[in-house]
Symmetry: C2
Subunit: 483 residues, 2 copies
């Protein structure tokens, strides 16, 4: 029937085929759509609202730290892009080029920003001349394009994505280093307190660091289905870009020095990580702090009691809407059961049922999305109880995510152990020499596993050898297959 | 001396050479920078903060109206762009084309969105099938590129700019029309209550309406230097795009109908209008509600009293910062006079001076940016007084803008009068047949004046003839040279 909404249940189990499950969940839950440009997706309001909540959360913290927002052009002249050699080698294969405007062929190709170092730093060079101009801590919330030729996956690997890109310049390395802790803390808190995702901070290997950076730190996550996935990252650029773009300042003693720089980002990819992390065979589970709808009121009515029940539902919504993001599903063409399914599919953390019996008893029924448990609650207690349950849902999701990460770790010392660990869909912690060539071999031997990051609290013991080359190990590194 | 900030006074008078004045003011006040891509500018934090305040203001109102944010791809396949004939004719000459990615030549050119109808509406066609899917009211805050070949002017005419683009679809023309009032009210309120700009709502002429629309309404402004300038606009598309993109729905009676659509936008151009509207020979004047810094505290100290005065300044800031966006200028390398100049140049609406005498008398001195008037105020009264003054500054700026608009209007009935009005840098209100050909002639005769919009409250009297062709006039229209 064209007039009745079709049923949209999930037909694939998450632990049977993660990819198919993911595709079904994200398309059926009305959070995105494919576009006709391969690899570019549409963020429908339901997912875009989550991005807005994340943006506000991170942005408020950045502003308190003294980081200011700005906006640089989308298009970068080719001559700027190629100034930092390693950087351009990293990005050139993925750059989308504008070559024509109207009917005119441009004299120089313009790159759509894959990241904005190369358009921002020529300005930094103009703006910075004295120690008084430092630190310069700027950020942008914008869109970037990286024309990857790998198979695109909505949210997780898209040719255009949204992100923040922080670009800062300091007079000393110490100050630049201090920012690292500060920014990574903001990102870790965002993952934990907003998205209920456990993440582990560590340094990237030499091979996996950002093109042009001295060091990259990342927050790594681990999906319940046995794959690692990278979260936000932070790059310390040292003076690499400063030298390439001639960003110098006169210090207090009158000496001319290059600045020290950092860049950092969180992207819409995190939404995909969150969907994969928490979802189940019924669909999405959205952690309450980032859920566009935290409580969905489903009034249960028939023609004869519709008026009174909808009135009560309105009253209840009014009572609690200062505390929660709450909506009422008043549709008459769907049964309550159909609505339950729909909001479970969309991962609304708490459902509030309100039927004739509830109204008689001056109560409402709260149903948790995560475990389906129901509780009848006096109307006067709804705010308090819902707050408690939402907090509990969040804590439980986070603990699951943390347990899942920690349970996945297997400390290994031989290649045989490493291979078994990867085959078992676990994450190895292995001694490693941190040489790019060795890393290539590990990937080959394990059929695709890569180093994730180097946890700061796991020191390599003296005399321990690299799991691959048997030369002296420099670090302990996580190794896993990544999504 | 490299170590001392250079003095940055404005050397051109606003009423002598508006363009030169504007260029000096926007570059010296540290709100923008030019980029190496001609026509693409850098929004430095000071102007970007204003955009963020505007965005928040408009966005909150849109959300209350039920408009939801989303995000569609930046890149539009050529085959989509060309579906609506008038639309593509309007935009094709200004489209920036992506033709290569990495080392690969793309099979189909991709347009960087000059506006998103052509990428959004294929999705709308998929999403809308029943009256239950309507209205669909979506909005994006994003960047667009229009490769104009006219001389670029920062904020006012840039090849990339930031905006909101609302795109809505309704079951009936009546609903679509009702949205017009609602949205134009939001924009008018934004201009009035946030930017202190008087704007006049009216319909655009047939020639000036949006490419592909049935009708366009705009908010027109008038600069104190005798030029009109267009603000936000609203387009009713009728069923034009619905037919081109096949956006149909089944109504309650089971009939298949095309949807009725609107689109609407406010852009970063408005910041430029605001700078031109209110600035004076000392620099910018930023209306308090949109000022990133509403009060700048300038402590007046010497080496011997520095500690106590800065302490008092900190205390005062703490006391008032819940009420205002306030900062302290503690720099020691600049004199108070230099600081006064700088914050006047940047248009901070209120300066608070705090010197040894003030501390003795438990007072502070408030100095208005608009007229330079000073008043000594008891510390306990600072919040109340500052609120009063800031409100008064805003009202005064708005009234000036309104008076300036209204004083500019000259009702004309002959071409001779029209020519004189335009020469006098005024705005004519003239009877007009609303034919594009006639409008071309008017532009020719007046050496560049264009119709602005058709005020709804000025009806054309029966029998009155078009000022140009002498056939029957259909409307009274504003005609002026525009920036």
């Amino acid at each position: 029937m064209a007039d009745k909404p079709e049923i949209k249940g999930i037909t694939v189990k998450k632990n049977v085929d993660l990819s198919k499950w993911y595709t079904e969940v994200i398309t059926k839950s009305d959070i995105m759509d494919y576009s006709d440009v391969s690899g570019c997706m549409v963020f429908k309001p339901y997912s875009y609202m989550m991005w807005e909540i994340l943006q506000r959360f991170v942005d408020d913290k950045f502003k308190k730290m003294g980081i200011k927002n700005c906006y640089f052009p989308l298009l970068i002249p080719e001559k700027f892009l190629i100034k930092e050699k390693e950087h351009v080698e990293g990005f050139a294969p993925e750059v989308a080029w504008v070559t024509e405007a109207g009917n005119t062929r441009l004299q120089e190709r313009l790159a759509i920003r894959p990241t904005s170092e190369t358009i921002m730093y020529p300005s930094y060079a103009k703006w910075i001349s004295s120690w008084r101009d430092l630190p310069l801590r700027l950020n942008q919330w914008n869109n970037v394009v990286r024309w990857e030729f790998k198979n695109p996956v909505p949210f997780l690997r898209t040719r255009e994505f949204l992100w923040n890109e922080g670009h800062t310049a300091f007079a000393t390395k110490e100050e630049a280093d201090a920012e690292k802790e500060e920014v990574l803390d903001v990102y870790l808190e965002t993952l934990k307190n907003l998205m209920a995702i456990y993440g582990s901070i560590g340094q990237k290997s030499e091979k996996e660091k950002f093109a042009g950076a001295v060091s990259t730190h990342s927050i790594e996550c681990f999906l319940p289905t046995g794959k690692a996935i990278q979260g936000p990252d932070f790059h310390h650029d040292g003076q690499n870009f400063a030298k390439a773009y001639d960003i110098k300042f006169q210090d207090k003693e009158g000496r001319t020095e290059f600045v020290w720089q950092n860049t950092f980002a969180i992207t819409t990819r995190m939404l995909g990580v969150m969907f994969m992390m928490h979802g189940d065979d019924k669909g999405l589970i959205i952690p309450p702090p980032i859920a566009p709808v935290q409580i969905m009121i489903v009034p249960i009515f028939k023609e004869n009691n519709k008026k009174i029940i909808l009135k009560k539902a309105d009253e209840l919504k009014k009572k609690i809407e200062k505390h929660f993001r709450v909506e009422i599903d008043k549709r008459e063409e769907c049964t309550p059961g159909w609505k339950f399914n729909e909001w479970e599919l969309k991962g609304v953390p708490l459902r509030l049922e309100l039927g004739p019996k509830d109204i008689e008893n001056n109560q409402a029924v709260l149903v948790r999305r995560d475990d389906g448990k129901k509780s009848a609650v006096k109307v006067s207690d709804v705010i308090k109880e819902a707050e408690k349950i939402l907090k509990n849902i969040h804590d439980k999701l986070y603990k699951q995510s943390e347990k899942n990460f920690k349970d996945s770790i297997v400390e290994v010392s031989t290649m045989k152990q490493l291979k078994k660990t990867i085959k078992d869909k676990k994450m190895a912690l292995a001694p490693f020499c941190n040489k790019p060539g060795c890393e290539d071999w590990i990937k080959e031997e394990t059929e695709g596993a890569t180093t994730r990051n180097i946890p700061p609290d796991k020191k390599v013991e003296k005399g321990v050898k690299c799991i691959q080359c048997k030369k002296e190990a420099k670090v302990m590194v996580y190794i896993a297959k990544a999504y």
